[in-house]
Amino acid sequence: MRVLVVEDERRLATELAAALRDAGYAVDCAEDGERADFLAQTERYDAVVLDLGLPRIDGLTILRRWRDAGLSMPVLVLTARGTWHEKVQGIDGGADDYVAKPFRIEEVLARVRALIRRSSGQASPELRCGEVTLDPRSARVTLAGRPVKLTSHEYRLLSYLMHHRDRVVPRVELSEHIYEHGSDRDSNTLEVFVARLRRKLGNAFIETVRGLGYRIGDRP
């Protein structure tokens, strides 16, 4: 799962990014509207945390631009102006949720989690697939009740596959959602992660659909 944080206050952006990374997300940051617009239009995100008061282009304008361009990723709006009028404008502009500053990091994390869960059509906060359980709240994975230790890349990959378990996920899509911007993406390492996950969770758990991509197997 990959999240874009758009916040001009560097310190707050750093804190948010750190907390999101701790929670198992790949995180990119943008400090102004132009950069945010560029990243969102060129990369694939599972959620965006967007501050409305941005230099150059304000958040609401960018949000409308994204929605006009057909980008449908869930957007959590952060704003200092917490009036209801602005909330209505934000939601009408295409925001999915709203947090007023100053906020607690946990609140932002909980909302990002809920947005991603909803947009991928999952009903319960815990993702379960056979004997494997993934809890986005604690970023923990268990196999038959026993905790499984995963690296951050393994966790992101597994989380993405489990959020989209009813379909085959192409390799390109997978790599788009687990690597941060500018990090080295090699499809071989993707295969390495899958192999490691299979070793930890059972060979049949991740199925390779030849020529298409990966799918979570119903039975590990």
Binding site: R11, T83, H85, V88, K101
Partner: protein, 337 residues
Amino acid sequence: MRRALSLRARLLFGALLWTAGLFILTAFLHSHVLSAHPALPRLFNRVFLSHTSLLGVVALVCMAAGLVQVRRGLVSFSDLRARLTAVRDGREPRLDGRYPGEVQPLVDELNALLADRDARVTRALAKAGDLAHGLKTPLAILAQEAERTGGRDGDVADTIGQQVERMRRQIDYHLAHARAAASTTDPAARCHVRVSVDGLVRTLLRLHDSRRLTIDVDVPADHEVRARREDLDEMLGNLLDNACKWAKARVVVASLVDGGGVAITIDDDGPGIEPSMREAVLGRGVRADEAAPGSGLGLAIVRDLAELYGGSVALDRSPAGGARATLRLPKGIVDSR
């Protein structure tokens, strides 16, 4: 300071002096003409004495017309006064109408003054907003830092967290107040209740997405209140959000016109509010239930905003079983221009 002489008295006194001068001049010319043409008096007498009544009428009509003229000239002042009162009460944005040449420059100056005042208020309000919002991000960082160090010193972190929350509420409260105080005198402030409610319902359904709430809206499209959209959104948003937080499944918004105002009711099917708690809930910063999500300032802001607009907010029992909030606001003034 000595009170200035009434304008009307001055004008009439001026007319009197003018008449006296004219009279003297006429008498002077009269005597000159008489000495030059001794035959004239007989002609004058014939004309004047044979039409005494007619001349009397003409004289009276002239005097009356003079008074009317003075009066008409002065009416523009009472008119101006009425219009100024309308501006002060917020019924009109500026002084309209055509005035005599001597008064029009005064009216123009007054309008310029009003425009300047509005611009100053707008600027001051923007500054207040900038200040408030400028504080929010540092507060957010402060709260984050406190949270991060929470593991090492829980007490300090809690204190900082609580104080940051208090500051946030203070900022929101006073900003809403400043905004409302500036806008209650704005005569252009009119808002369709339906427009505001529809936007809020869309927003609340999205924000309370997981709750599967139903919000029924029974607000006729032509109901208008005298309030700025931002303020009506703030009042209704807080009331509706509160209803959504407590409702089990259903919230109903309805409005009806009574007398000079519009009454908007918001019903929920939640647990309702104890009668003894109702007044307290509308007080400053009092929370009906510490466990309830959100800040306790919401309803206090609603009450203050409503009162600034000459309206009110009341809590009651809903026929649906839960709480009913009734927001009363003056009707929007129909633009006569």
